[in-house]
């Protein structure tokens, strides 16, 4: 097991390197001159050229990439072209917002997803079951930004019970994360509902459930104690990867809800060709993804002892 974990950690290195190189390469070939965006139209082409040299943008791609990599290995992600701040500091400032948003979205998605899934499995082919199927379909097809706007209108403008945008300043203010969390987690909620339903249906048909029922245990005990325990294995392993996806999927939601997280920062950085910020955020998101992937793989082994890795 320990050898497996160590091997997986070493496997992360080429993955991270590959992602960093790909991002760097993509940003280099995206049309648009960051210097022109930085300095505007009033500046002379000669000055633009000297700024380009100062930022090292005139160097060949490989040289620039190796310089960047060397600096990153020394903990230096560079400075934002626009805000002139250290990218690492900007990341540290923004990560808590995105993390909180992903946690709230996950919590909403898992709680409601499980509840709906269990209800529909227990009452198979009932009204609730049909409703769940319909809900899953809608949840997976609704554009996130549209849902966000509708939630703002209903809960922020018409009923005025939740804030429409922002994070409420310093610290964590739950009420500011509910609408964006719901919009972000809605598709996951539908997916959890579907997954729980099929998983529960499979488990509820097992012999040990029949035995539990035959012993005269109440329906609640059978479903929630014996059934759910096993039905949750595929759901829980999925939750990790879903959390990573939610972290990466915050760009639109943070933009719509003006939540100052890394998604919002990435959106602004891309539109302003702020290369160091784009690279920093992408690298961070890639790291989150691969680390969670690793943790999920490891958790498989703990949750299901039949799974073994060589």
């Amino acid at each position: 097991m320990i050898r497996f974990v160590i091997r997986r950690i070493f496997q992360l290195i080429p993955v991270i390197l590959g992602i960093s190189m790909l991002t760097f390469w993509m940003m280099s070939f995206v049309p648009g001159d960051p210097v022109a965006l930085m300095l505007g139209q009033h500046i002379s082409p000669q000055t633009m050229e000297s700024v380009r040299q100062e930022l090292g943008l005139d160097l060949p791609f490989l040289t620039r990439y190796l310089n960047y990599l060397w600096n990153v290995l020394h903990g230096d992600f560079g400075r934002s072209y626009i805000q002139h701040q250290e990218v690492s500091q900007m990341l540290l400032d923004k990560i808590p917002v995105t993390f909180c948003l992903a946690v709230v979205a996950s919590a909403i998605a898992i709680t409601f997803g499980l509840l709906i899934g269990v209800l529909s499995a227990v009452r198979q082919y009932s009204f609730w079951d049909t409703f769940t199927t319909f809900f899953t379909l809608i949840g997976l097809s609704l554009p996130t930004f549209w849902l966000g706007m509708v939630l703002q209108l209903v809960f922020g403008v018409i009923f005025r019970i939740l804030p429409i945008s922002g994070s409420g300043g310093e610290g964590f203010h739950l009420q500011y994360y509910i609408l964006p969390g719901f919009a972000l987690g809605f598709a996951s909620m539908a997916m959890y509902a579907g997954l729980t339903r099929s998983s529960m249906l499979e488990v509820l048909g097992e012999d040990y459930i029949r035995t539990a029922r035959a012993k005269g245990l109440s329906k609640q005990v059978v479903v929630f104690k014996h059934g759910m325990k096993n039905a949750l294995i595929p759901v829980s392993t999925h939750a990790g990867m879903d959390f990573a996806s939610l972290m990466g999927g915050t760009i639109l939601i943070e933009t719509i809800f003006s939540l100052p997280g890394i998604g919002y920062m990435l959106f602004n950085a891309i539109s302003r060709r702020d290369y160091p910020v784009v690279q920093g955020v992408t690298l961070f998101l890639a790291l989150v993804f691969v680390v969670i992937n690793l943790l999920v793989d490891i958790s498989y082994a703990f949750l299901n002892p039949r799974i073994r890795y060589d």
Binding site: D33, L37, Q41, Q85, M90, V157, I158, G166, S258, P260
Partner: protein
């Protein structure tokens, strides 16, 4: 509990509710207000909540280039002069008066002795010199140092050959002398640009690269304006606070919070919910419904902005072919685009200057939509019915509105046989392509930096600006000489006559088709009074007040 059909009715009811929301039903009736706020007695106090779309890039005067930075910057810093928010006339700022030498090349500015920085220390002549030298310095890389360009010695500092501008001299603690290379009638007006406004240099130097950036603190960002800096929460908001020791008329509101949004619809929803007092930019394509929703809270402002289609005069097919340029001018119908695509949110342009700019000539005879004349000129250009004319590329920076306008132009030109290939470009590439003369025909949007015709004519049509701002590569010896005369003439009437003559000559040459002067629709809350929005698009926070 609902059973059977009842459950389905519930589902249908939920679906209908969702469909209603989908169709865009907003809370129209709740926010209507028929009162016009102007004219009442001002009340002091309160926080003005300003809905701003997109974050300012910087609050350092040397980088106040985009409108949001300028909006906040002009409240934090004052310059030697400022503009009257309504008329845009030059008024005394930090300098209470100024005198010109007989040859009009030397200006002596007398600085008020009661001007204080936000930390309470006095502003003196040396502060102005230090700030301006820093703005001009090569290392500062300011994109907006242009107001200082006419001063003797600016070029040397800007190229790194000298440290201080030789044409700037401190006479005493409250007097400075500025020597210009040539007479320049636009110089004083250009000094109203916030780039040349005054801040405490010691704290700025101490802050280094953090000066005027989101990490700024009230200890590092020390200005001279009616408001002092409080906090900039990156991507969230900027807060400024009334400065009690301000030398001029003090602001009414205690605080202004600029709430930053990236999405116009979110800002509009915050306004609907009563969380904003003003929204600066509204979602595109919703103009009519917004006016209907807030009939007495919407204001329409014509700004000093002009949009035109530029022809690259250094490149075929427009080089030396005025008839082809005129054919295109007669074939285009901007009014139909204003009525449809722009929902009436612009006015027709008749020449190089927007209608609100001093020197604007309303009698200019620019071509107006006339398909018959367009065909006539096309034949004269050597392309009867467009035969023999290769498709022309039309470039524009990409956004939905520009795309729709470009498609409409494409359709209108097709009517007379001219084929247009659309080239939508990302902003940086678009600017670069224009400056390098790569495009044949392209969209240009010029927003005034200061209210003087020189800011349009001497920049967009002078050969000295080729490859920078004169992206159509226009050059005419008579116009060039008139442009110089226009800058040097100090008699306003004669000066405006010169600029009218320049406009006539430029229109005759048809290096562009001047299409629109954009208007902007803004929303203000029911408690907002005396909000002045100048033609430079500055929203004056010194005059605004909030009723209880």
């Amino acid at each position: 509990m609902l059973k059977g059909k009842g459950r389905w009715y519930l589902v249908i009811a939920v679906l209908l509710a969702v469909a209603l929301i989908l169709s865009g039903c907003g809370p129209n009736a709740a926010l209507t207000n028929g009162d016009k706020p102007n004219g009442a007695t001002p009340v002091d106090g309160g926080t003005f909540r300003f809905g701003m779309i997109s974050s300012p890039s910087a609050l350092e005067p040397a980088f106040l280039e985009e409108i949001n930075g300028i909006q906040i910057g002009k409240e934090l810093y004052d310059g030697l002069v400022k503009y009257d928010p309504s008329s845009l006339e030059v008024m005394p700022g930090i300098a209470e008066k100024w005198d010109y030498s007989a040859d009009k090349k030397v200006i002596k500015f007398h600085i008020r002795d009661d001007v204080k920085f936000h930390d309470g220390t006095a502003v003196k002549a040396q502060d102005v010199l230090d700030v301006w030298n820093r703005l001009a310095a090569k290392d500062t890389l300011s994109p907006v140092a242009f107001p200082l360009e006419p001063i003797v010695g600016f070029a040397e500092v800007n190229s790194g050959e000298a440290k201080t501008i030789s044409g700037l001299k401190k006479i005493d603690d409250f007097t400075i002398e500025v020597t210009l290379r040539d007479k320049n009638a636009a110089f004083l007006t250009s000094l109203g640009h916030p780039a040349v406004s005054i801040y405490k240099i010691e704290s700025a130097l101490k802050a280094g690269k953090d000066f005027g950036r989101p990490v700024a603190t009230p200890e590092t960002l020390i200005g001279t304006g009616a408001f002092k800096f409080v906090k900039w929460n990156s991507d969230q908001d900027v807060t400024i606070e009334k400065f009690d020791d301000y030398y001029g008329t003090k602001a009414h509101v205690d605080r202004v919070v600029y709430k930053i949004f990236n999405d116009e619809s979110t800002a509009l929803n915050e306004f609907r919910a009563g969380n904003l007092d003003y929204v600066d930019m509204l979602p595109p394509g919703q103009r009519k419904s917004i006016i209907k929703e807030f009939p007495d809270q919407a204001i329409n402002q014509t700004t000093l902005t002009t949009q035109f289609i530029g022809f690259n005069l250094n490149k075929a097919p427009f080089k030396d072919n005025v008839n082809l340029r005129k054919a295109i001018a007669y074939a285009l119908d901007p009014q139909s685009i204003i009525d449809t695509v722009l929902e009436g949110d612009s006015t027709m342009s008749n020449g190089p200057l927007p209608s609100t700019m001093p020197g604007y000539d309303k009698d200019l005879k620019a071509p107006k939509f006339d398909p018959a004349k367009a065909k006539e000129y096309l034949a004269l250009a050597g392309y009867p019915d467009g035969k023999g004319l290769a498709p022309i590329q039309y470039a524009y920076n990409f956004n939905q509105e520009n795309q729709k306008i470009a498609e409409a132009f494409q359709g209108q030109l097709k009517e007379i046989g001219i084929q247009i290939e659309l080239r939508n470009m990302e902003w940086g590439s678009y600017v670069k392509a224009m400056q390098s003369g790569e495009n044949q025909m392209f969209r240009v949007n010029w927003v005034a930096d200061y209210p003087d015709p020189a800011n349009f004519l001497n920049i967009l049509y002078s050969k000295s600006q080729w490859g920078m701002n004169n992206v159509i590569f226009y050059s005419d010896p008579v116009v060039e000489s008139l442009l110089t005369q226009g800058l040097e003439e100090t008699d306003t009437t004669q000066r405006m006559d010169i600029y009218k003559r320049i406009q006539e000559l430029v229109v005759e040459d048809q290096p562009a088709v001047w299409t629109f002067n954009p208007n902007y629709l803004r929303l203000f809350g029911k408690k907002v009074h005396d909000l002045t929005i100048s033609a430079l698009d500055h929203k004056d926070m010194r005059t605004v007040w909030l009723s209880k």
